[in-house]
């Protein structure tokens, strides 16, 4: 008993620094943010400016069109980027795994956008998207599209422009995760199925896809979470504009808190965002039993 206690104590000692760090920097702030979300607080007035306002922030946001538009954009962003990223990264991973010339350099180049800062990448894409003479529209005109979109300056196209860039940036990272999943599939399963007369396409759907399902599940969850956390690209490229066309929750929360100093309101929206991410993850977790084979 005494030995067990001593072990337990030593164990706690090893995780203590992280416990303090995460407690102070993450857990307590999360709880504190919940408290602030029930207040009306302009932080310029200092801590004594806090007034409790009940659920006011939580009811008010639904008639704030910046909030509702941001939420809508978030959903559009998730529903478009997640499948695109998953399909492209799976296909590139399968291609690389199948055997190609120059495997290492190809993998490296496709992975490159992930290591580069979103801030720098956004600056480049903003120029590539220039409506009048930007490289992308120059190419589009060259191939015969007379009136290419105005991209970031056009409310109808701005979100699409950011979606394209985000998919571009995320393929490499998820491809590497898929590659690891592919390499974990035993080779003899392919041999067995080819003896049974299955072709490459058939093998892909009856061996690769089912055995890859745990990886697919992981990629799906992380892609959804990341899609709701998109911020730097919006901040650098459009600041949510034109109008509200590219505003997302993370951006509007940042603005409400640090440009308008509405700390209570910003915290309430942040909690709604957390709740959405949490719910989506739970639903996926429950749903996985139907299609994930471990």
């Amino acid at each position: 008993m005494n030995a067990y206690r001593k072990e337990a104590f030593t164990g706690w000692l090893f995780i203590l620094p992280a416990l303090i760090g995460f407690g102070l920097l993450t857990v307590i702030p999360i709880l504190f943010s919940l408290v602030i979300s029930f207040t009306d607080w302009n932080f310029m007035e200092g801590l004594k400016g806090i007034r409790f306002s009940g659920f006011h922030n939580y009811t008010e946001m639904w008639s704030d069109h910046w909030f509702t538009d941001s939420l809508k954009n978030n959903l559009v962003f998730a529903v478009t980027t997640v499948p695109l990223i998953m399909i492209f990264s799976l296909l590139t991973a399968v291609g690389l795994n199948q055997g190609v010339f120059f495997k290492t350099p190809l993998r490296m180049i496709i992975f490159m956008p992930y290591v580069s800062s979103v801030v720098a990448v956004s600056l480049v894409w903003a120029l590539l998207y220039s409506p009048s003479q930007g490289p992308i529209n120059q190419v589009l005109r060259d191939i015969g599209i007379e009136h290419p979109p105005g991209w970031l300056s056009d409310p109808k196209w701005a979100l699409t422009a950011i979606i394209i860039m985000s998919v571009w940036a995320a393929i490499g990272y998820n491809m590497v995760i898929y590659l690891a999943g592919l390499q974990a599939i035993p080779k003899d399963l392919y041999e067995a199925s080819s003896i049974d007369g299955a072709g490459k396409v058939r093998q892909f759907f009856s061996v690769t896809i089912p055995l890859l399902s745990p990886t697919t599940f992981f990629v799906l969850i992380t892609c959804i979470i990341h899609s709701f956390q998109v911020f730097a690209a919006i901040f650098m490229m459009t600041q949510g504009g034109p109008g509200t066309s590219t505003s997302v929750l993370t951006f509007y929360i940042y603005q409400s808190g640090f440009s308008f100093y509405k700390m209570g309101y910003a915290s309430a929206m942040a909690w709604i965002l957390t709740l959405i991410i949490f719910l989506v993850t739970i639903v996926q977790w429950i749903g996985q039993k139907r299609w994930v084979n471990y």
Partner: protein, 277 residues
């Protein structure tokens, strides 16, 4: 002809993937090329890929002129180095605690750590902002280093590796009178070198590229990190695009270098954080 027959599929896939790779590479090449152009040539039609006269002045202006990127670089290096060292130490000892001990509440604490990854930065920003003000580290590099040190992914990554180290090793060391601190530093750390290198490289990249924390917690220009320095170019009417691209190139150069140098570990790190599921 037989070569083509045997390698036809391989060649075909290579061509397809080369097209994907070109899509990934072209924006970077355009950035590099534009950083050496004159302002009037940026949107020249047809596109100029290799400027007739390389405008190295753009870099000089970024580093030594109106935008003090030399200083931003110094700040980024400082913040990144301290964050990485801290993250490696904390992740490693926490991972050891999780992997080698059984105690009540362990799984619960681990679950909490796991859950913190789901929470978006925006939830903790405001309370952290208040906390840092209270601690007197708002608008100082500590406000960036502290959050950089505590990384849940780092803990998972090393815990994964530590779980694969056979129990016999530590049992044998215990027999010879080694305590846990010695087992951790003399057996687990040396045996997990590849995972440690992965963590160092990944955490270098994350910290170098970190944007939200500096944006909120740093206000003095002299404390700006490189990504924050890049915001100088947003909404700046009459922006000098070549200089902006020179700054962008400067900002990604260190991570690209580290990536080229250590891509094996980099990819291993990403892969093993994902395989866990």
């Amino acid at each position: 002809m037989t070569w083509l027959k045997n390698n036809g599929l391989k060649l075909f896939i290579t061509v397809l993937l080369a097209a994907v790779a070109a899509t990934m590479l072209l924006p970077f090449l355009w950035m590099l090329s534009t950083s050496l152009k004159k302002q009037i040539d940026v949107f020249h039609n047809p596109m100029i890929w290799i400027p007739a006269q390389m405008q190295w002045n753009n870099y000089k202006e970024i580093w030594l002129g109106s935008h003090p990127f030399g200083l931003y670089y110094f700040n980024s290096i400082k913040v990144t180095v301290f964050s990485v060292i801290g993250a490696v130490i904390i992740s490693s000892c926490t991972a050891y605690g999780f992997a080698r001990f059984e105690f009540k509440g362990k799984n619960f604490v681990f679950l909490i750590f796991l859950a913190t990854m789901m929470v978006p930065d925006q939830v903790t920003l405001i309370p952290r902002f208040i906390l840092f003000n209270y601690l007197g580290i708002y608008n100082s590099h500590w406000a960036l280093i502290l959050p950089g040190i505590f990384t849940a992914i780092g803990i998972f990554l090393l815990r994964q590796t530590y779980l694969t180290i056979p129990g016999d090793f530590s049992e044998a060391a215990k027999m010879e009178g080694a305590n846990h601190f010695q087992i951790w530093t003399r057996i687990f750390i040396p045996l997990s070198k590849p995972a440690l290198v992965s963590l160092i490289i990944l955490s270098f990249t994350w910290n170098w590229n970190e944007f939200v924390n500096p944006l909120v917690f740093i206000t003095s220009k002299k404390l700006f990190t490189v990504p924050l320095g890049l915001t100088n170019f947003v909404d700046d009417s009459g922006t000098n695009y070549p200089q902006m691209m020179a700054a962008a190139v400067s900002s990604i150069l260190p991570v690209i270098a580290v990536f080229l140098f250590g891509q094996r570990w980099f990819i291993q790190g990403v892969a093993s954080s994902g395989v866990k599921g």
